[in-house]
Symmetry: C2
Subunit: 487 residues, 2 copies
């Protein structure tokens, strides 16, 4: 059904997410200024907001954000922007429980399957308290959204899983789309969550009219999980769920990147300096690159083990290849992350101690927020390793091939949400398979030039074919169809 | 279709499993004698063999087994038995790789979801070598089975996942049933296995005509996993798979226990002495019991944490309840098991140190092969804790209620294969939910007498309704139907 209702089209757009499109910071003149966040998601959503003059509601993440929080809207000083931001401020303890304890330690770990099942998780009295905080923050978001009337609501990600049903209860006529940017756990893993929580979570999401995921695997997992709800009727083939007299549509909307903005960033002065740093590391050798948040789901440890195994088997590559790993610090407040990164750094030392020699250091790690280095690495790599355990999408797999200038090869985990779009142009790996990943590194580095060029073209074309602005448009079109009645 | 082919019915029965129905040992007179294994599975299969004069092929597990191994059949000296056993002997290193490295450390962990995904498993060169040994042992089994002609073959469990297809290649006309006694990993977890292994595993199993599981959840997982095979056509509703011109049936055959044999064991002298030991521990207090192999999937650690939380919240139970935990040693060669049990024992010490007082020790652990103690505990418990992370079936949940004399309550994990049969008479727990399990312990101990009695009757009836001899019969009937052509 492609019929659209012209009247409904004019509904204002309201976005809700934990992290807002901009954060406040003191600029070089000592003045408070809004600094726009990076990344395709913010670009896509701001583009849609600018077209409709809408509003973005987010949590105040910093002290300066909190000073600007309240019921007022803030016009963002972005040239040409016609949208507002509203920050919701929470008590720091409440926000910690919502953000770190539930969103990141429970839901992120759940959907990425990162637990050590004999030991973790343990759902105890502290979890109960944190879950109550998570619920209250979702209530606060739904109250703020309710004030906007019967708008089109785009609720973003696992932090706000309960908000759709809370908003639906307050505004039965609202059009609500929810988007999950991470994987969704299949039934076996989803059952790690105690029943009372998993039912609350599913019922929370089903307040939306449209529920979107980056990949069909996550959409199917969600649909199968919904079969546990006694009163839901799940249609796997149609990707829909009958629930409380409504039809909820589940859609697959793989996000893309803003190719033009990325190319513009690569022309910044800082990248020139970063190119020199990359060349100082690579020194004319082949370059294996990874760019990731310092994050358990990225499978950093097995990447280094696979590189070690590759060097063990391929003496002809000694002195001829360098592995540059760029990590953005992430969730340093969560103890699991610190422990994991220590293990990763020990693995790096082991490779360098075992194989390094005077003029050759096999692995170089860069730890810090350094997008210029990532860009310079993207241009220069011969092979890009993207081997997450599970990943909702993975934009590195799209950014790298877009900027790469050497027909570099992409090594891609079959469990990345980007795999259905890019897999046939990549070297496929099972992320747990260290031996297979060592094979893949060799295959990527030794691939004949004609084949490398063919695949590099395929990757660039696949990224460009999926336009970023279509991502919001497809969700809004699905919302309009949902609003046009049961279909 | 219930038509049976009388001619085909007369096919001999051949069973294959890693562990045989009997092991050889030196008896009290210094003579070598076959000692029959315990458990309902052996009883069920021997019953079927005796009716058909069949053969059981197994690995030689001990030195004495190995001396009896070879191509010859051994008549088992069991009164009234009319069946034979043949032992296959393997080089100890080869057997270790097959049994510990692949069967127990890879496949058991895979299907019970016991990994710590950011770190384990690591599939490396050692895995490749061990997998080759696993494949060779499966070849040896299929060669031994082939010698028996076009029999009815019952291949048991995850040790022999590849044997069905190997036997099918050698004997296209064989009727082959495979049974998995453990869970089967859902697609997300199954993908932890590298693709080359998981395709080999699925193709190995699909050599069978009938593939059986204890619970529909495991059957559905297997069917969904098979959708990854490019040339398989999976019918989820009919529970069948078209594969290489054949139709493979997937069935759910929950095994039961031999109620009469269990009652007979409870009349042994050793149980009298064990009753006195149990009473010395309980001392007239309420008894919370668990009986398990010392095994990561049994979720022993969270059981002690939940009991600690229960005591923390319920001061009125201090001094009035005792937790007796009977553990059979298991896989002491596998390092993960030793580490896990140490953590469990530390948790026991923590509870006893925190809450114990002169005349009351809150937890008592018995570690050793002591079925008499288990039986005495079964008779005496007020609540039985069965909280596995995942479990193919769990026979403790059936044995306990069969022998219990106090209308004891069963606390049962929703992830046990026994849950569909017994769950509505039990107190349900999510195994990861320590807070919920603490609630369940209290609910079980404080349940009104009328309700306890009603549920105890329900449990006994559910166990007795599912007769053990039907377990093999249903599989053989499915085999006959499969042999009668595509349906």
């Amino acid at each position: 059904m492609t019929h659209t209702d012209a009247t409904s089209d004019r509904r204002p757009l309201v976005i809700a997410s934990n992290r807002g499109p901009a954060s406040f910071a003191v600029d070089e003149h000592g003045e408070v200024a809004a600094r726009r966040g990076a990344g395709g998601l913010v670009t896509a959503l701001i583009g849609a907001l600018q077209a409709s003059g809408g509003l973005w509601i987010a949590s105040a993440m910093s002290e300066i954000d909190r000073e600007h929080a309240g019921s007022g809207r803030i016009e963002i000083g972005d040239p040409g922007a016609r949208y507002s931001v509203r920050y919701l401020a929470f008590d720091p303890g409440e926000f910690h429980a919502f953000y770190n304890e539930v969103s990141n330690r429970v839901l992120w770990m759940l959907h990425h399957c990162l637990w050590d099942a004999p030991r973790t998780p343990v759902f105890d009295a502290a979890t109960t308290r944190a879950w109550n905080a998570y619920r209250r923050v979702n209530v606060a978001f739904s109250e703020a959204l309710e004030e906007e009337g019967d708008a089109d609501f785009l609720i973003q990600d696992y932090h706000l899983s309960l908000a759709p049903a809370m908003l639906r209860a307050r505004r039965p006529g609202a059009r609500i789309a929810y988007f999950s940017h991470i994987p969704f756990a299949g039934s076996e893993h989803f059952r790690v969550l105690p029943r009372r929580y998993r039912l609350e979570l599913l019922e929370g999401l089903l307040g939306a009219d449209v529920i979107g995921f980056h990949a069909s695997a996550w959409a199917e997992n969600f649909l199968v999980d919904c079969r546990e709800l006694p009163r839901a009727t799940v249609n796997l083939r149609a990707r829909s769920i009958r629930w409380q007299g409504r039809t909820v549509r589940v859609g697959v909307y793989p996000i893309s990147i803003d190719v033009e903005a990325l190319r513009a960033e690569s022309r910044e002065d800082a990248v020139d300096e970063a190119r020199r740093r990359v060349e100082a590391v690579a020194g004319g050798r082949a370059l294996l690159l990874r760019v990731d948040r310092a994050e358990l789901s990225k499978n950093i440890l097995r990447g280094f083990l696979a590189y070690e195994r590759f060097l063990e088997r391929c003496a002809h590559w000694h002195g001829r290849v360098v592995f540059l790993a760029q990590f953005n610090p992430s969730r340093e407040d969560v103890p699991e992350y610190g422990r994991y990164m220590e293990e990763c750094f020990r693995a790096v030392d082991a490779v360098n101690d075992r194989f390094g020699r005077g003029d050759w250091r096999p692995v170089t790690v860069s730890y810090g927020d350094d997008f210029a280095l990532a860009i310079a690495g993207y241009e220069r790599y011969d092979a890009l390793l993207v081997n997450p355990v599970f990943d909702g999408m993975n934009l590195v797999a799209k950014e790298g091939p877009t900027l790469n200038r050497r027909d570099g090869t992409l090594i891609l985990s079959e469990n990345a949400g980007a795999f259905p779009e890019l897999g046939r142009h990549a070297v496929r790996v099972s992320p747990f398979d260290v031996e297979g990943t060592a094979d893949a590194i060799r295959e990527a580095l030794e691939m004949p030039a004609v084949e490398r060029a063919r695949r590099a073209r395929g990757l660039r074309a696949a990224v460009q074919r999926n336009r970023l602005d279509a991502w919001v448009e497809r969700q809004r079109a699905a919302l309009r169809r949902a609003g046009a009645g049961p279909g």
